[in-house]
Structure formats: structure tokens, C-alpha cells
């Protein structure tokens, strides 16, 4: 049924259609509306055979989900930012134990400085933790990915994280087609665990593994993720046959035919980039877009195939590996490693801590890449005068004070000044 609803509500409804049996969650912005919606559905009896467990922390949320999953229940949780960091030990345990838990991550920056707005730092912080990570472009895809993700997780017994841009998607009202219960039931069979704690047939899960077998256990984790590279496109194509729309998959391409310049990005920013691609194509620029949906496992060979023929690639990402640059650009470099004529990879970091990414800034950035690009990592719309002022201050005095507070004070002075100018202008 087509609805105009908040993204979080759409995801909650899609998750409920998947018949989760245990939901444990601790509130953190911008994910909260999703579990609030699910909690309400459980309370009102709209979501039956499901226990909603209020816990005291994120660490407990995922730990309870681990217990529930090990006992054979379809388990779900959601978090963001610092909440994910607080549960990170359990994040590794979930994947190490091979428990097919589904988690929504309402992507948000990580402090300090504290910031509730969107970027992909939280997802990147656990990119090596052994979870499958899928990124949604729209709220329709966010809803659909959850349905696909339960089946993906349970087929391979791997946990899956559905990454959804905080606020930009979670708090946006847009049209979403919520499928019927019958169609979701036909796509997603009941959970049949490969390992289960059952008093009638006791086993233990969570052995200590020494040097003699640890590599082999890890290798099999890696092997299962490589199986996901085959399963993900199959699920996306079956989903598209049943539900009549494209959602999920490894990656999607837009206007890549004979493209000299290809943009690679994840999440909701792909919509804005498509508009820029249309405008630049109309100007005769041979530009295209590759939307990466599956970040872990990274579809190396598909990326090589899709990107190999371009001259330039701009990797636009909402995350920064401090001291290195863009982590996704680094990953793509490795995907293109040893190609005879490898494209030039230009790394751009944008949208940190919720900084809006505008069409006009993207247009400038993409044209610059075609004109030879830049060295190292480009920070989109970086305010050099603020940065320069702070570097100067640090040079001048040893006790320069906290950087965040200094910058905020500088910004406040500037805006007060422009306020005075505005008043004068009005008079």
C-alpha cells in the first residue's frame, strides 16, 4: 500500500511484516522513531508473537539479541553513533558466533565534538566487524532492504546491518509502498536456525579457540561473506520479480554508458548526485554514477568491471579515516589494484556531521575531477578561513584552548556581525 510516511515509520512497518520475535532496543537519535514505532505495534497487539525488551544500554540491547538469536528467535535491534560504539564488543561477538541478527543503523556522526547529525562514521567504525553492511538510497529501499536482509542473514547465518542516513531518511516524509503481509510471508520463510540452544538437545555456543583453529574460524567467516556476494543479487532479483521494484543488490549504475567520469557513493546522497549527473549530461559531460548498496562484503570484481573503463573516478563519502583520508576511496583503490589501465581515483569527503551536500558544490567538484583532479583527500566546502584562523591561534599561543569551542565562538561573532549589517541594510 502506497503511503506518505516518515522513513522511520516505513521501516518499522516493514520490520513488523518480517515477524521479528524479539526486539531489544535502547533509544538514541536518530534511530529512536523506528523502535518507538515497533514498541507501539507490540503494545497495541498489531505485532504478535514478539517480545519487546527494554534494556538499560546498547550493550545490553545487542547482548539480549544475541541470547534470543542463539535460542532460535528472529532478533532485531537498532542503534546509531555512540550507541553502536557502546555495543561494539557484542557487534564482533554476533558475527563471530554467526548469529543472523538484523540491526538498523541510523547513520550519525561520532563525537567528540558531540553531533547528532548524519554521516557514515558509525558504520565505518565497525566495517571490519564481520557484519554485512547495506546502505539505503531512499526510504523505499530502506524498508525493502530490511525484508531482504532478514532472509540474507538467516540463509547464511551472518548478521546484517541496514545503514540508513539519519534524519535525511529517518525523519523524511516521502512515499513508500508498504507490501502486504502475504507477499512478505511468501518471500521470507520462518527462521530455521543452523545452531540453537535447546534444552532437549543441549549444545554450547561460544567456545574459546586457540591458535590451532582461530584462522580457520575467521576464514570461514570471510568465506560466508563471499557467498553473500552471490546471494545478495539473487535476493534482489527475486524481490524485484515479486514486488515489482528494484531494491538492494550489490550496486546500481546510472548513466554509466561511455562515461569518462564515474562517481561512487553510498546512501541517500545518490539522489542528489543523480540530479547533478542529469544536469551535467545535458551539458555534454560524460558522467555517470555507481551507487554502492553492499559495502560489506565489498563486491571487488563487480566494481572492477563497472569502474575499470572510466578515466576518472570520484569517490564521494561521508566519512573520514583521520590521518588517512576517505576509507571508501581506499577500498576502491584496492578493488582497482593491478589493472593495466586503472582509472584515476579522486577522494572527496563530504557531509560530515550533517553538513548539507549541495548540487552546486557537487557540480564544481566533479568538473574539477575532469580537469585533472586533486592530490590526496578533498574536503567539500571546507571553510578555509575558519581553519586558517584556528591554525594561526594554535601557533601563537600554547594554551590555545579547545578547538570546537574556539571555532563556535568565531562563528557566533561572524553571525552577530552579519546581523548588525542586516539591521543597517533594512534601515
Amino acid at each position: 500500500m502506497l503511503k506518505q510516511i516518515e522513513g522511520s515509520r516505513a521501516m518499522a512497518e516493514a520490520i513488523a511484516l518480517c515477524r521479528p520475535e524479539v526486539i531489544c532496543a535502547y533509544p538514541i537519535t536518530p534511530q529512536t522513531h523506528i523502535v518507538e514505532g515497533l514498541g507501539e505495534m507490540v503494545r497495541l497487539g498489531q505485532l504478535t508473537n514478539c517480545e519487546f525488551i527494554n534494556v538499560e544500554s546498547e550493550f545490553a540491547a545487542l547482548s539480549v539479541a544475541i541470547g534470543a538469536s542463539a535460542a532460535g528467535a528472529r532478533a532485531y535491534t537498532a542503534t546509531a553513533s555512540q550507541g553502536l560504539l557502546y555495543m561494539v564488543e557484542a557487534v564482533y561477538n554476533t558475527s563471530g558466533l554467526g548469529l543472523p541478527i538484523l540491526m538498523t543503523l541510523g547513520n550519525r556522526a561520532i563525537g567528540a565534538p558531540i553531533n547528532i547529525w548524519n554521516d557514515h562514521s558509525d558504520a565505518m567504525a565497525v566495517r571490519d566487524a564481520g557484519w554485512i553492511q547495506l546502505f539505503a538510497e531512499t526510504n523505499q529501499e530502506a524498508a525493502d532492504l530490511h525484508i531482504q536482509a532478514f532472509r540474507l542473514a538467516e540463509t547464511l547465518s551472518i548478521p546484517v546491518m541496514v545503514c540508513v542516513d539519519g534524519f535525511i531518511l529517518t525523519h523524511a516524509f516521502e512515499r513508500v509502498d508498504i507490501p502486504s503481509q502475504e507477499s512478505v510471508d511468501a518471500f521470507l520463510p520462518p527462521y530455521e536456525p543452523v545452531q540453537v540452544l535447546d534444552p532437549r538437545a543441549p549444545i554450547s555456543i561460544g567456545a574459546m579457540v586457540g591458535p590451532d583453529a582461530f584462522t580457520e574460524v575467521r576464514y570461514l567467516q570471510h568465506y560466508k561473506q563471499s557467498q553473500a556476494l552471490e546471494l545478495i543479487p539473487q535476493l534482489a532479483s527475486e524481490f524485484s520479480e515479486r514486488f515489482g521494484r528494484q531494491s538492494g543488490g550489490l550496486l546500481r549504475t546510472y548513466c554509466v554508458e561511455e562515461a569518462e567520469l564515474l562517481i561512487v557513493a553510498m546512501g541517500s546522497i545518490n539522489g542528489t548526485i543523480k540530479d547533478v549527473v542529469d544536469e551535467m549530461r545535458a551539458d555534454g559531460v560524460k558522467i555517470g554514477l555507481v551507487t554502492l548498496t553492499t559495502f560489506r562484503p565489498l563486491p571487488m570484481s563487480v566494481l572492477r568491471h563497472v569502474l575499470g573503463g572510466a578515466r576518472h573516478i570520484v569517490v564521494l563519502e561521508k566519512s573520514l579515516s583521520v590521518g588517512m583520508g576517505g576509507p571508501l576511496a581506499n577500498d576502491l583503490d584496492s578493488a582497482l589494484r593491478n589493472l593495466v589501465t586503472a582509472p584515476q581515483v579522486h577522494s572527496a569527503v563530504a557531509g560530515l556531521g550533517g553538513r548539507p551536500i549541495t548540487k552546486s558544490s557537487l557540480n564544481r567538484l566533479f568538473r574539477e575531477a575532469l580537469n585533472g583532479g586533486w592530490e590526496g583527500t578533498h574536503f567539500l566546502d571546507l571553510n578555509m578561513s575558519i581553519v586558517g584562523g584556528e591554525i594561526e591561534r594554535m601557533r601563537e599561543t600554547r594554551r590555545a584552548g579547545p578547538i570546537a569551542e574556539n571555532i563556535l565562538r568565531g562563528l557566533a561573532q561572524r553571525s552577530a556581525l552579519s546581523g548588525v549589517m542586516m539591521e543597517r541594510g533594512n534601515e
Binding site: 506518505q4 534524519f167 516524509f173 541517500s268 545518490n270 540530479d275 549541495t358
Partner: protein, 190 residues
Amino acid sequence: MFQVRIHGRGGQGVVTAAELLSVAAFRAGKHAQAFPSFGSERTGAPVVAFCRVDDKEIRLREPILEPDCLIVQDATLFKSIDLFEGLHPKGYLLVNTRKSFEELHLEKVVHRLPEGHARMVPATELAMQHVGRAVPNAALLGALAALTRLVSLEHVVAAIRDAFPGKVGEANVLAAMAAHDALVRHDVAA
């Protein structure tokens, strides 16, 4: 595409106004996208919310930088922020106030817009009268339907009833209809 930017203060239902507008447009068969300026939703703090309406899928996710219509829920904001940034030269302006544009020192801005595109409506008073609380959003959406014809009053009313079934919704519907009437009657008088 038609883009609406709504300025107000936390507690005035700014975000809800954008969401309701998107639902009204959806009911009219259009694509719509509503989103808040994210974060500073403390009571009294300046808040901005956005709504885009189009006949095709809306992919753009940047904030609305060049609105076709500006709704100002709180006229005291004019003192602190440049609300008019990017307003389209043929755009619309709807201000919640009892004062005149002269009293608000807005003549220059209003003269730049086509005649009849800048209007005032005492939305807070209408809300107090019908809803009993200072929530001008529903009234302003009723006025918007009269000013721009982006959405019809019927669709605005249906969106309000969707979101707030029962007494609260009906009270807001009355406020929206009163504001709509106020603008239409003024048209006739002018």
C-alpha cells in the same frame, strides 16, 4: 518542482506543517518530500522545515536553498535571520501576523514579489480561537492552499484529519478553513 520553506520556532509545529503539506500533496497524486532542518528542536529555538512537491520522483536531498514559497510562522524571526535568502523572484510569502508589512519593515521584499504573492494571516489568533493553543501551522496551510493553489483546501483538511483523528484534528481543520476564507475574502474585497 515547487519548494516550500517554513520558518518558525520550536513548539509551533513547523516540522508537522511540512509533513502535513507533503501528505496533502500526496493525496493530490503528487510526489512530495518533507524534512526538518534537523536537531535544534527546543521550544522557542528557530526551526526550519522543508517540503518539495513535484509530478515526478524527488531525488534531491539538499536543503531548500531557492524556495518558491516561504511561510513564516513567527514574525519575530525577521530580526535575527535573513529568511528571504534564495526566495524565487516570482515566489510567494505567507506571514503569520496581525501587523502590516510596513510595520514589519518588509515593504522592499514585498515589492520585489509579484502583486498578491505576499500575504499576511493572523494564524496564531485563529489557532487560539479554534484550537485553544498557539499552534499556527494548520491555519497557515489553509492559507497556503488559498495563496498558491499548490494543494487544495480539501487535501489539506484530509491531511490534518489523517494525522490528528478526533477533536484536535477537527479544531485544526476549522482553523485551516478560517485562514483559507480570510485570504479568499480579502481577494474578493481587493
